[in-house]
Symmetry: C2
Subunit: 164 residues, 2 copies
DNA sequence: GCTTGACTTCAAGTGCACTTGAAGAACTAG
DNA sequence: CTAGTTCTTCAAGTGCACTTGAAGTCAAGC
């Protein structure tokens, strides 16, 4: 019955073990398993049940790391990844759409940082940080009072999931 | 024995109840109590044990909100607040020192966002996101692999507290 | 053949920043 | 005086992104 048994670790050029992926990405094996559980990455299995990753997974993990530094949650990253085929690079078109979305998020976060920077120099220093109508903490309306729960500071709030 | 009893809520102009502070700052009463437990804010007590806040506490809370949007942890914020007198505004000198520190943190976070922005347009789109030597994920050395634990993305890592 | 190390699952733990709930005391309005 | 709101403490729960540990399997080198 050992007819189509997937070969052992590291012996096949195209497939990587979880340890190899961990080493190459700097992400712990436990995290990789966690990402798989959350549907962010996928692996084939050997006959013995060991994970084997395609090389494309390295890019997928890089994508996850990138998006995390952007400030996205794993759920948001999962949504983005779901549009891409699992085993291959995204198309230019896929990429362009996502790129535009994320670029605008980076823009708004940078805008906030610039506001905070200005506030650092003037608003707080002079004691005007009043909370009532401070344009640093409350741009427009009452964005600083996003309600209870963890406060997100990229894009003000994760879309969907109304607070609490 | 009711000789120097602190008067009731809302009746004294200088002192605020926890509910009033919550309403004015947009921060939940539970969070205010939590901040007090962590030493970030302080309150006097009425004879009955109810909290009474100075008006300066409003500014202190504003300061906390501001620093949170900067991406600082409560511990870091507490360190910063510890240098300031509890009941009054910080001196210009105090402020200038902190301001310089935080400004540089904002600068480095903005620099990272610009890198990510560039990566968004080129590095990932063209498929070069390689993890090994990607200058978007690994500026200089291997900053993306900060080790296990929650990943900080302002200033790369909270100073002190070597990871784990 | 045996040891060592890499892998497996599953449950539970961690750190942060809180929130929620229970049980009760205190203030306020009518 | 009573009802309702606001406050008190304390313990436990939440969500995120994982890590740690236990108990066991699999593969490779000597």
């Amino acid at each position: 019955m050992p007819a189509r048994r997937v070969p052992g670790p590291a012996t096949v050029p195209g497939l990587l073990t979880v340890g190899e992926v961990a080493e190459r990405t700097g992400v712990a094996t436990s995290a990789l398993r966690f990402y798989e559980e959350r549907g962010l990455i996928h692996a084939t299995r050997t006959a013995a049940g060991h994970r084997r990753y395609w090389r494309a997974t390295l890019r997928r993990v890089a994508f996850i790391l990138f998006a995390q530094r952007l400030g996205l949650s794993l759920e948001q990253i999962g949504d983005a990844l779901a549009r891409f085929p699992a085993g291959r690079a995204p198309t230019r078109r896929d990429w362009a759409r996502l790129s535009a979305l994320w670029a605008s998020q980076i823009e708004s976060r940078m805008a906030e940082l610039r506001r905070l920077q200005r506030g650092l120099a003037t608003c707080i220093g002079c004691g005007c940080l009043s909370l009532q109508r401070c344009h640093v903490l409350n741009p427009g309306d009452r964005a600083a009072a996003l309600g209870p729960g963890p406060r997100y500071w990229l894009g003000d709030a994760p879309r969907g999931r109304s607070s609490r």
